[in-house]
């Protein structure tokens, strides 16, 4: 299931909902991404992030997330999966994204969860605008994120 929303989400309720009434799920894995107040670039010194605004491409975002989720379900035997991504202005400490996967066994759940967040980061059309004491600037894509996604690519 895919949700793109401004509202926060309740981690406990979302995870419980994924497994409710099921008796075939042996493992549930999740990743939660949060806004942190530290800048990515160490050379920026003591500067901190005071807020972050998530922009996206409505229509393409949902389509791309559904494709990424379908790819995970084709690669691993999953009983349930969920991606929630927030948009709009968020403060440090707030939740940005939840990825959860459930399977009979832990390995499929853990691996597919990591796959989903790695691919989401490099393929879903979201952009982060950081507000700092020196002004607002768009976050640049990181090569390490591309590398993380690349290791899931099949030749």
């Amino acid at each position: 299931m895919i949700r793109v929303q401004e509202a926060d989400f309740d981690i406990g309720r979302e995870l419980a909902g994924l497994t409710e009434g099921r008796r075939d799920i042996g493992g549930l894995a999740c990743f939660v991404g949060l806004v942190r107040d530290m800048l990515r670039q160490p050379e920026a010194g003591e500067e901190t992030v005071t807020a972050m605004t998530l922009e996206h491409y409505p229509g393409m975002t949902e389509k791309r997330l559904a494709e990424i989720e379908a790819e995970a379900r084709a690669r691993w035997p999953l009983q349930a999966s969920l991606i929630i991504h927030r948009v709009g202005r968020l403060l440090p400490g707030e939740r940005i994204v939840l990825v959860a996967t459930a399977s009979s066994h832990r390995q499929a759940a853990l691996e597919s969860c990591q796959f989903l967040i790695d691919w989401l980061k490099t393929q879903a059309p979201f952009w982060k605008l950081e507000e700092t004491s020196s002004g607002a600037h768009w976050v640049a894509a990181r090569e390490s994120d591309d590398q993380a996604a690349e290791r899931w690519r099949r030749s």
């Binding site: 991404g33 998530l54 922009e55 996206h56 491409y57 229509g59 393409m60 389509k63 791309r64 991504h85 940005i96 994204v97 967040i117 989401l120 980061k121 490099t122 393929q123 879903a124 059309p125 979201f126 952009w127 982060k128 605008l129 768009w138 976050v139 640049a140 894509a141 990181r142 994120d145």
Partner: protein
């Protein structure tokens, strides 16, 4: 043709969307970007570094050789940074 701009591309161009009618001869994404650059200094500046301009046609990521047609929705945006 409907053009959409996101993140700093929207900022540099000063608009989120516009309807444009490229001239005959603009048949690919690469040719479209070349033509957009002729529309003014803001376009030239925004599209100067093609490595950081990603393109989606009708909600699909495409490369410079991909065809574009009058009814298409073409989105230009920087590399994505979600998650």
């Amino acid at each position: 043709m409907k053009l959409l701009y996101f993140a700093w591309l929207r900022g540099k161009l000063g608009k989120a969307t516009e309807e444009l009618s490229p001239p005959p001869g603009v048949g690919t994404v690469g040719q479209l970007l070349d033509w957009l650059e002729t529309l003014g200094p803001a376009y030239k500046s925004a599209l100067a570094d093609r490595r950081v301009v990603k393109v989606a046609v009708n909600l699909e990521y495409v490369g410079a050789e991909h065809p574009v047609a009058p009814g298409d929705e073409v989105a230009l945006f920087p590399p994505v940074t979600g998650g």
